[in-house]
Amino acid sequence: MFDFLSEYDVLGAFWVTVQLTFFSAIGSLIWGTILAGMRVSPVPLMRGFAASYINLMRNTPLTLIILACSLGLNQTLGMTLAGQNFEQQNYRLAILGFVAYTATFVCESIRSGINTVPVGQAEAARALGLGFTQVLGIVVLPQAFRSVVGPLASVLIALTKNTTIASTIGVAEASLLMSEMIENESDKIFLVFAIFALGFVILTLPTGLLLGWVAKKAAVKR
């Protein structure tokens, strides 16, 4: 019953999904934190830029962003991220798209985390004479991060599921292999679906449980 599986590299495809998720998560965390910093900064222009960037990105379909990275940035404008290697090219473009989109959700999570830090913390920091970057970097953000582990985990899991969209520009991750298998093995579509659905449950469930536990441990007790 499972013989046909030996013809396909299911684990390899899921490994690409994991890699896509990993690099996109790192990128979105960095870009999202920078956006959050801009969103609360004393410079009105930065606040305005971050706010409009977030509103535009959140209301655009991720599929459009990924396609725009490939069809627009790469094929029309000729932006290359990896020389001539087509496979590697689309893989990196997909990560770029995921970072641009997911960072907005990371930013909004961090901003809500900043709001959970008691006003007295920031006031005390200012009373000590700390500047904006110091208040944010030394006092507020470390506390904010501890309270947003839960929401960030939720974003990470959504990102894991969203990486399937990379298949629309031909990145060889799990859902692309599934669409191929489901066409070839038309007598086993329930089995193929079950394997891939289970794969995603295995990827997302432990992440959720583990980070849920971390969130409880990390939260500042007030």
Binding site: V40, P42, V43, L45, M46, L56, N59, T60, P61, L62, T63, L64, A68, L71, G72, Q75, T76, L77, G78, F105, V119, A122, E123, R126, F132, V135, L136, G150, P151, A153, S154, V155, L156, I157, A158, L159, K161, N162, T164, I165, S167, T168, A174, S175, M178, S179, I182, E183, S186, I189, F193, F196, A197, F200, V201, T204, L205, G208, L211, G212
Partner: protein
Amino acid sequence: MSAPSVLYDAPGPKAKARNVGYTIAFLVALAAVIWWVLATMAEKGQLDGEKWSPFVTDGRIWTTFILPGVQNTLIAAGLSILIALPIGALFGILRLSDHVWVRWPSATVVEFFRAVPVLILMFFANEFYFNFTDIASDQRPLYAVVTGLVLYNGSVLAEVVRAGILSLPKGQTEAAQALGLRKTQTMTNVLLPQAVTAMLPAIVSQIVVIVKDTALGGAALGFAELLSRIRPISNNYGQNMIATLVIVAVIFIVLNFIITSAASWLEKWNRQRKKGTGAVVAPGAVDDVATGQAV
């Protein structure tokens, strides 16, 4: 004088000068990026007038490509929400049942479909209809897209309904019990009507997720919705890919912005309402760790 934010003091003369410096530096960086994009676009001929003018001068681009695309997007999104709502309500209520043998299976179904990517559901639905039904091949993508969206969003809405009912004060159930209402009566006459108003903002903001996800059907299954129109437009109007992408993105953004505004207006209306319990399920309130639905 009160500070504009708790994170920084009201700027004095020195801070004001520094902020002006930051503004200029940021402006320069931003201008550099925009200039690079525009320069590359000009170099590749994407700024040429004839690549953008068809959207204004040529009505056919709208009547043949864009408007039918928008129509298909709205049809798929509308069908999905209409079918997903009753399913979501049913499973949301089943999950609150007093009987373990009802609660557990429905919880498993809901959690399973929330954990599986929509695209996988769409691929499966497409192949399922191909093998087991005689739906015409030009209709199949629509069926597959709607099925995928209903399965996923139905389970998300089940969580919204559950959160809506749980957000009501306990006194509502207790008062209904004191009046001698049965469990079904309590649910249909007392809890659900109040929960629906509390859930409205969350349901409306879920429509944004649905509208965005219809684009998946265009890119992966060849469903003729708005996003899938970019290639035909670009091929027919002189490879104006950038212009097309921008126009399509703007339509999506405007569409979703209207829906988001409706959601936040409903939320505000709910909070200010004198009648009722004041309970409200905000947009994205149910994005608990297990599944991460909000994104």
